[in-house]
Symmetry: C2
Subunit: 386 residues, 2 copies
């Protein structure tokens, strides 16, 4: 996976984010944050290593200390060019040295505040996607500490977007809408799913996406598998086709689903599509500051359950999106996190009838001061394609 | 990152690999192996999820038990189509359930053999690149266990290739050689590094690579940074240019470096290039069954050090390659792992003169019964380009 540093942000922006993250960490009882290459590091520093490798790269944030990036010597020149680099001290290490001991020395856990009751020593937050081998190395080098994943410890670290970020999110959504408006016009019948998926990927790139994460084209019975991988199935007249596509544009994500029909739908197909559209609308209407994430799921699910299709809605209603296309907060039963203005997430109920067809409708929604705003605005009524 | 399951392998091949891995685990004192999406899972099962996500997918191997794949319900249909699936029991879990408890129940650690002295309870091996959040979840669900990364616990799990794998490795190397023979012919002077890199990527794809991992084009002073990211620098007459390129062809890796010159090199440039070529040859000649990995590094490094350039050779001499382009064993001082026929790795010494130029020459080499065999065979003498 590669990422592009969002263009409009300066070293000062990254310094602000790192300061805020360190303060949030302190507020959550964390003695520090250990940030691995990936979305957290991109968001905090603008830095994306060429590849995640077995060589440790780790941003160390601790309240009241300067940010330090532990980086392989080989990659230090690239790290120095990251937009956030002026706000960070680089500590490079060469092959053969122990990067975990280096990190441990930086943390100087004797001076760190103790963790919460029951935790053995200081509690450190670590990126969800840090490699297990690196966590094991740190656990060995810092035996008096315990760890929590950033999603568990600071789930909302990147969740609330500022104005500049919201503009980028809206632009990504508009680009995805434009791609949908174009894909409606291409021929579906007689072509393979992979062919339409390739068209969709090209459209996403043409509308400004630098990275295409997924272009699901799930036709006929394949639509009943929410994570269908495109295959050689030839799309036929009479198929429902679930389209679910997204990626990154200028460093921020899009993720949109629409379900189209090749030719005229049956009454049942119309009914299920209307039902999912109604559920999506109900989920959207549940979005407002202070509502819990699970309220969005409940609102959408109630519509589908009341219509007797509850057992065919087999996934959560949504997920957060930002510098990745898939992140907290999650719109799922049990998630009591309150919605906060600036959060962005998908609202994407679906109905999946095994062996027959599926329907999913998905918009990205952001929380406003008095409700929600859709960042996807292309037609949600079922459209027919050729 | 996506991968393609190597085409020629059957469910029986994957069953054999999983059996062997479980036996090796037992021999290494491990009570089980926890294999996350990525190269280990591809190699053991042929399965690559659409994307590594926060949803746990984990292959659980334990000596004397049937392999079980813990997989999100959403992704179960795709997992069932993996070539190794007939040899595996799938255990799917839906959003909202606790996949760590499910995994813990599978392991039934009361019945597992105890770990080595000093380890708290059974020792489990886990993929290097498993997400830290998943390791933390498992540590919590299985408090009586300890963990080691697979690279630490079973570093040679995938290192020794069988005959079918060696054929695929040789084909990937030959394809990379063919790409180099073509890139020699394109114009360099007056074009940006990124332009030549794009040509190189296209050539790798044309020669059969389904995935291009890197196409480094490091010209002039940029060549002194071994991990240079291609930029807008316009290549000039008189530049040395380090080319380092590779990816996956039919599921197996290539990784080749050659250093070319735009026009006529100076005496010093020739001398340094000859020196690196001699070091590469010395490293290759050190390859034989029973030699230690560090012997390959020492042999190559001695040539460069003896010539007074030791401080400018700032990385290890090589790394293993297989279903990834970067894996154990590592040719580095301190690595005493003996070489075994069927291992494949790079031999890639370099000299990097800061602010001036760099030279690196790299072949993939496999260990044979009586020495080594190069899987790259294109010209190593310095070639000039236009």
């Amino acid at each position: 996976m590669t990422g592009t540093a969002p263009a409009p942000f300066t070293a000062d922006d990254y310094r602000t984010r790192m300061d805020r993250a360190a303060r949030q960490a302190a507020g959550a009882g964390l003695a520090g944050l250990l940030v691995a290459p990936g979305p957290d590091l991109v968001w905090l520093t603008g830095y994306t290593p060429t590849a995640a490798t077995e060589r440790l790269t780790l941003l160390v944030l601790a309240p009241g200390r300067e940010p330090v990036l532990v980086v392989p010597t080989l990659e230090a020149p690239d790290a120095e060019r990251a937009p956030g680099a002026p706000a960070i001290t680089l500590r490079d290490w060469t092959d053969g040295r122990d990067p975990y001991a280096l990190t441990a020395a930086l943390l100087d856990t004797d001076g760190l505040p103790p963790g919460p009751p029951g935790a053995p020593g200081a509690l450190l937050g670590i990126s969800d996607n840090a490699w297990a081998m690196h966590l094991l190395g740190l656990q060995k080098a810092l035996p008096g500490t315990s760890y929590a994943s950033l999603t568990e410890a600071l789930p909302m670290l990147r969740a609330v977007k500022d104005t500049a970020e919201l503009e980028l999110m809206a632009a990504a959504g508009a680009a995805a809408d434009a791609a949908f408006e174009e894909i409606r016009k291409v021929p579906f019948a007689g072509r393979r799913e992979t062919d339409v998926a390739a068209d969709l990927a090209a459209l996403l790139r043409r509308t400004g996406h630098s990275q295409v994460d997924f272009t699901i084209v799930a036709s006929g019975p394949n639509g009943a598998n929410p994570h269908h991988e495109n295959g050689d199935r030839v799309i036929e007249r009479g198929d429902m086709v679930v389209l679910d596509f997204g990626g990154l544009k200028d460093g921020y994500g899009s993720d949109t689903s629409r379900t189209v029909h090749v030719g005229e739908p049956t009454d049942e197909e119309r009914r299920v599509h209307d039902l999912v559209r109604e559920a999506q609308e109900a989920g959207f209407r549940a979005v407002r500051p202070g509502a819990a994430c699970q309220d969005v799921d409940r609102a959408a699910r109630a519509v589908i359950t009341d219509a007797g299709y509850g057992e065919y809605f087999i996934h959560r209603t949504g997920h957060g999106i930002g510098v990745t296309t898939h992140e907290p907060p999650y719109m799922i039963e049990g998630e009591e996190q309150p919605l906060v203005p600036g959060m962005c997430f998908s609202v994407e109920p679906g109905v999946y009838l095994p062996g027959r067809f599926g329907v999913r409708i998905e918009d990205i929604v952001t929380v406003t001061e008095d409700g929600g705003r859709r960042l996807n605005n292309t037609v949600r009524e079922m459209v027919t394609v050729d």
